[in-house]
Amino acid sequence: MKKHLVILLAIVCAMAYIPSVQAADVIKVGVPLAMTGPYTDTGDNYWKGIKMAIDEINAAGGLLGKSLEPIRFDTQEFSPERVMQGADYLCGKEKVHSVHAGWAGWGQDVRAYGKYDVPFFCDDGSQAAVDVFKTDPEMYSNIFQLTDTGINQAESMFRVLMALPYEYPNKKAVIITADDAWGTEVGDTLARNFKEKGWEVAMHEIVPYGTREWGPILTKIRKAAPAIIHVEIVSAQEVITFFRQFMKAPSKSILSYGYSIVPREVVETMGKEADGIIGEVQTAMPTPEAPTPEAQAWVDRFVSLYNHPPQAGSWAAYSGVKAWATAVAAVGDETQHDAVIQYIKKNGYKGETGWWKWDDDNVMRAGGDVPIGHYQVQNGELVTIFTDPPTKPYKDFQFITPRWIK
């Protein structure tokens, strides 16, 4: 009896592992994103872009006459074996012909998906991922980064901070970053730049996620009275609580949020309260006015679908799908992964704002037709004031000196 039960149980479990049957007239596309856990919200941003691209392609008759079918995988908290499991599930079991991710594991993903030859698009934005790529560019040739690294983005932030039409009262800066790879990468680069330009970094503090009581840090900030405070924590709760506590007795400092400006809650929960904060988004569609009519049309489509302006990552992920689809259409066969990869490497992709080109490390470096957008919150919405590189003001949008400095 005992044995029978165990066997029965084992069979039930084993059922879960029987591979599924493949359909012939669809092209499977893998989408590993965080669907549960702390990264759910970011995962959702990427999914919106990816879904929009897939739906558009299918509505237009599909790719090579076949329709695209997204296969989703929940990457949860990006633990190593989960990232690997995603690669084995999508590329190994489901046999997808491309993989479109967002944040995907900051280097772990390169290792996991590099084992396969399927084109892989992600938005790691981290030097760690590029370093893994460089260890074996041949093997990792299928890995495409949709954004530039944290180091280059931080360089861009610094250039724009220096280019602001604003006279800094002193040369003191405070840098606060999260204790993750992204935060430290940006923090170190900024600190180096400040020092090279003769600025004093009065405080360079690394804080853990979950920090919400900023009293001790604000005490130090008020004493230092820096001209610039840079906060780089890509999580709304930290940056919002920081801002609100800062505003109780603000120092006369430019508040630069870098990439932490992107969580939608920052502008959604604070609205006009957030006016004056500056930040940047890489591979992002400049708003409120897009640079080209095609881009404006894209923004309008996005808004009509989801009822809010596109968030960081949505457009990048969308473009990843389109870049791959364009290459497949040109090659004429989605199963020729190498040919598709070579096509993308050689030709790039012409998107809504112009050309996307990947460099030798398969990184979409910022600049040209897809620069980094630098924003300021004005009237409760993100307004592009600069694009970089090269550093230039965006259209007629002006930097406004924050109310707490006036």
């Binding site: 001790p216 709760q237 929960t269």
Partner: protein, 291 residues
């Protein structure tokens, strides 16, 4: 220098007052029923979401007074119901302590993800109770912190009064001291267990409302609260309410000063370091008693 010291001291004091409110609830349940509640943090978020639902979701008028009037009975009922439904049935088992930990961990997972499904993964922000700050020279004292301080301390005083002066409070203390004896004199032990669980749920839930209006409420925001309350109760001695009070303020100050002098990353190290030292010297915590 002095001004900064005052600033940091105030920060520690506000931390401490809220921690006290949280920890007292946790220590109460442990002291009375020896049950460790892993879903404690989720009840914290429940308070926050309840307030959000009433204030923002339903757009209820009347401000926080009405919120408390509605939320406290709801939290009482939830706490009592949870205890009767899932904790009480385990009590007759010899390994019930670990079973209670596990079932409450499961409940925490269930609740946190229910919040995420129901309210979304994003944080929610509540309207503040009061605006503005008192600025005396360089010292900043926000009215919000003052309100939190006063209400937390008021809550604890009120709780002490209930414990010392009401029949149910005395019954709770009797069960904590000697469950068998309490039952012999006719105190319904099971009801008391339920009641303490309910009271602790109210305390942490109210704490959730107080803190959420200062910070935010998010599906997983309760974990931090659970860990901190846990450290404080162990530090002060599980089951000792006075111990928890001292511990809350000691650790609140520790957090503020370590954060100020060494940086925020050291706060966790310092907290656990101090906890280890106290437990090495006094395994039962500051004012705790074994048994």
């Amino acid at each position: 220098m002095l001004i900064e010291l005052i600033d940091v001291f105030i920060s520690g004091l506000t931390n401490g007052s809220v921690y006290a409110l949280m920890a007292v609830g946790l220590t109460l349940v442990y002291g009375v029923s020896k049950a460790f509640n892993f879903a404690y943090g989720s009840f914290f978020s429940m308070g926050g979401y309840l307030a959000w639902l009433l204030l923002v979701g339903l757009g209820l008028m009347g401000g926080y007074v009405i919120i408390f009037i509605i939320a406290i009975p709801v939290l009482l009922a939830v706490g009592y119901g949870v205890e009767r439904a899932i904790v009480a049935p385990l009590r007759k088992r010899s390994d019930w302590e670990v079973k209670v930990m596990m079932i409450t961990l499961g409940l925490a997972l269930l609740l946190d993800n229910a919040y995420q499904v129901g309210f979304g993964a994003r944080m929610k922000s509540l309207p503040t109770m009061v605006e503005g700050a008192m600025i005396m020279g360089d010292v900043v004292l926000s009215y919000q912190d003052m309100v939190i301080f006063v209400l937390s301390i008021g809550g604890i005083v009120c709780f002490r009064w209930i414990l010392n002066n009401t029949r149910i409070g005395m019954a709770v203390r009797a069960v904590a001291q000697n469950p068998a004896g309490a039952q012999i004199v006719g105190i319904p032990k099971d009801v008391i267990f339920g009641a303490t669980f309910a009271i602790s749920t109210v305390m942490v839930g109210v704490g959730g409302i107080l803190l959420s209006q200062k910070y935010f409420v998010s599906p997983t925001g309760g974990w931090d609260i659970l860990v901190k309350s846990w450290v404080i109760t162990a530090f002060g001695g599980m089951g000792s309410i006075r111990g928890s009070l001292y511990a809350a303020f000691i650790l609140g100050m520790l957090e503020a000063f370590v954060g100020w002098i060494f940086g925020m990353t050291w706060v966790l190290f310092a907290m656990f370091g101090v906890l280890l030292i106290i437990l090495a010297v006094r395994p039962q915590g500051l004012l705790g008693k074994w048994g």
